[in-house]
Amino acid sequence: MTFSFCGAAFAADISVSASVNSNVISLDDQLELSLAVSGGGTNLPDMQLPPLPNFTSHSAGRSQNISIVNGRMSSSVNFRYILAPRAPGKFTIPPIVLEYEGNRYKTEPIEVEVLARGKAPQSSRPEQVTAPGGQENKELFITATVDKNTAYVNEQVTYTLRFYQAVRLLSNPQYSPPSFAGAWTEDLSSGNYSTTVNGRQYAVSEVKTLLFPMRAGKLSIGSASLKCRAETSGGSDPFSDDFFNNFFSGGGKTVVLQSEPLSVNVIALPAAGNNAAGTGAVGSYTMAATLDRNSARVNDAVTLTVTVSGTGNIKTLPAPVLPDWPDFRKYETVSSVNTDKAGETLKGSATFKTVLVPQTPGRKTIAPVSFSFFDTAAKKYRTVATAPLALEVSPGVAAGEPAQAGKARQEDASNGITVVTRDIRYLKPITDWQGAGGYVYSKPWFIALNGLPLLLLIAAFGYTRRQARLSGDVAFARRTIASKTARKYLKQAKSLLGASAPLEFYGALSRALLEYIAHKTNVSPDGLTLAALDGLLSARGIPQEDRQQIHKLLEECDFVRFAPAKINPGMAGQAYAQGESIISRLEKILK
């Protein structure tokens, strides 16, 4: 056994060290690596194992030691790791670095030689007792057994380690349990008794561990080791000097005992039948269910307690699957476990509490809750179920409803209607496939449509204003009707043109001209002399040429009226054409 130690503890300082329990191991053996941090304070940092490529490492715990020597306190923290080699060869565990308060601390590298499988290491521990087969006449030895070599997944396997001792121990034995990787473990209480093996009296200490393999395949149980300091053979008189020598010098011999590794063949559970749900539970169970009361109101909370009790791995028991109860709202299941390790098997009960809230009134039956497990004794699945439970549910106040809802419910009941459950209304058929086409107020046609009545209003307003002006402004009114009047007389003249009534014709023509000019200039047509007419027209910018023509035409009309015999039809036609053209020319200028 080789230890590499590093430094002593200083009050202000810390030191780190690493050690292994053996520098030469076989491939199917395990290495125990201890990392220690020691220092003056009690608040020591933790050390982390870096990944080691050649080993599979598991943490095996942390322990702390505080000692006060001569008033000076020192403490150390130990971290234990189990390293399983992956391949044979010579390996170096590199220095492990700890950074603490700005300083770097380093352990020494450790050389480890891993021998091929099956080869016993060149033991550097001469006192080791390994072979239980050669246990005859040994003072100390350990045996490890399992109660079965073949087990189902999750079936209980009892691992028993017995420590036989025929000599007194000088220190408490340090037991390192084997690794039970791949199994759920449960420690049973240890016992002591004495027995005789090959005629020799031994005190036996027995440690039982219950194993529940987690998966099918080979479950390997490593070797357990036990380290103790024993009296040298032949015994010693406690009152002799030797005893005290031994006591103070740490005398006696240090013995490390190792058990043989074991393996259990774990077989998978057979496929679950149709009626049995594969819950993975293994053992033998019974089941019971209770309600915390027999009557409740709607929306009251009722607790359903389902208890599964029996033998098996109670702690990993899955919660029984509750059926769907449409009349109840279910809440999360809370479980608690009670185990009894008094006997050889793990017994106990698991309690699953579920809060149920009745949703509808009436007499309700809670359907049986069933639970399936694999019975290893009968080698088949069994299903146990609870008895159905009855619950009387009376109508109550629904959650989230205002207080007056209860009253409304009663009124409804008097109408013969009882509101049982309120829920959202059901889906609708989608009929309006066009969907929302945007907002109509932003559409150009809509804005244009609203412009139309505006135009109508403007038109009506303009017309009304014009009407008002016509009725209030004589000059405007006369100006507006001037051309209308002129056209009227011209039309009259034209009809007289062919009727050989020259007198009337010329009268109408002169009237058309005079009335037109009088209306346009807002004067009375009666008594309008030619000179006054000429003055009015020249004031309105009528050219000289036109004025003369008007003058001439009116003189001609007057002349004909006084001497009607001298006219001929040709003259009349010419006069009409002249009158018409003059009026249209004046129209352009006078407006």
């Binding site: 959202i424 609708k428 209003l457």
Partner: protein
């Protein structure tokens, strides 16, 4: 976006049938995605949003359900089923009673759609214009009385339309879709939490900045910033 021009009369659309089947089988997550794709593909419809809200409610997402019902209600404001379900979900979330002013504004602005009010206002305006024009031309006494009445009606309708547009278009409403949502005193996780909002709470989105939205609660007079993932705009 392509809208189907023909939908066989009486026969439901295949996507709708699928969505309804998913709902009936209790596969609400699938029903949600189907209804959402229907709305994206064929346009927003009141019934589509209503059904989507039902799926969200059954899928225990009441905040999303409220957003969907609110959208449905905008398209079909006097639909009893939509209003019933919206009130039902709100009640389930135990939302506090809204202040009276908000109830009144809400009742006024959520009675009719903006399009309905636009058409009504426009119709009244045309009738009013005709009446006034007829009065101007004929000077009949009853026409000026009718015109005056129509002016009042048109002004009222226009005011109603304006209020509705302001409340719906110009105010950006949102709903807390997962709660409780932390509302912080600034946009960023480094700002302290001012208050928290429960799921389903309706809020006003004042402005947006990156992943944050400034929100306000009119009745309580509270303002703050919330991560956008907590809210959905109606």
């Amino acid at each position: 976006m392509t809208a189907p021009l023909f939908v066989t009369a009486g026969g439901a659309h295949p996507d709708v049938t699928q969505a309804q089947q998913a709902f009936e089988q209790g596969d609400y997550a699938r029903a949600i995605s189907l209804y959402e794709s229907i709305i994206t593909a064929y346009g927003a419809t009141a019934a589509g949003y209503y059904n989507l809200g039902n799926c969200y409610y059954r899928n225990r997402q009441p905040g999303h359900a409220i957003v969907s019902y609110e959208r449905a209600l905008r398209l079909s404001p006097r639909d009893g089923d939509i209003r019933y379900n919206l009130d039902f979900v709100r009640e389930q979330l135990k939302q506090p009673d809204r202040p009276l002013s908000e109830i009144i504004t809400g009742a006024i602005t959520s009675y009719a759609t903006i399009n309905e009010l636009s058409v009504a206002t426009s119709f009244l305006f045309i009738i009013m214009s005709c009446a006034l024009a007829a009065f101007m031309l004929s000077r009949r006494r009853f026409l000026i009385l009718a015109g005056a009445g129509l002016v009042v009606l048109t002004a009222g309708s226009a005011a109603w339309l304006g209020l509705t547009i302001r409340n719906r278009q110009l105010t950006s409403w949102g709903v807390v879709i997962s709660g409780p949502a932390d509302v912080r005193n600034g946009p960023g996780m480094e700002n302290s939490v001012g208050f928290t909002l429960p799921e389903g709470r309706k809020i006003i989105v004042l402005s947006e900045k990156d992943e944050w939205a400034a929100i306000g609660l009119a009745a309580e007079g509270l303002k703050g910033w919330v991560e956008k993932k907590y809210i959905d705009k109606i």
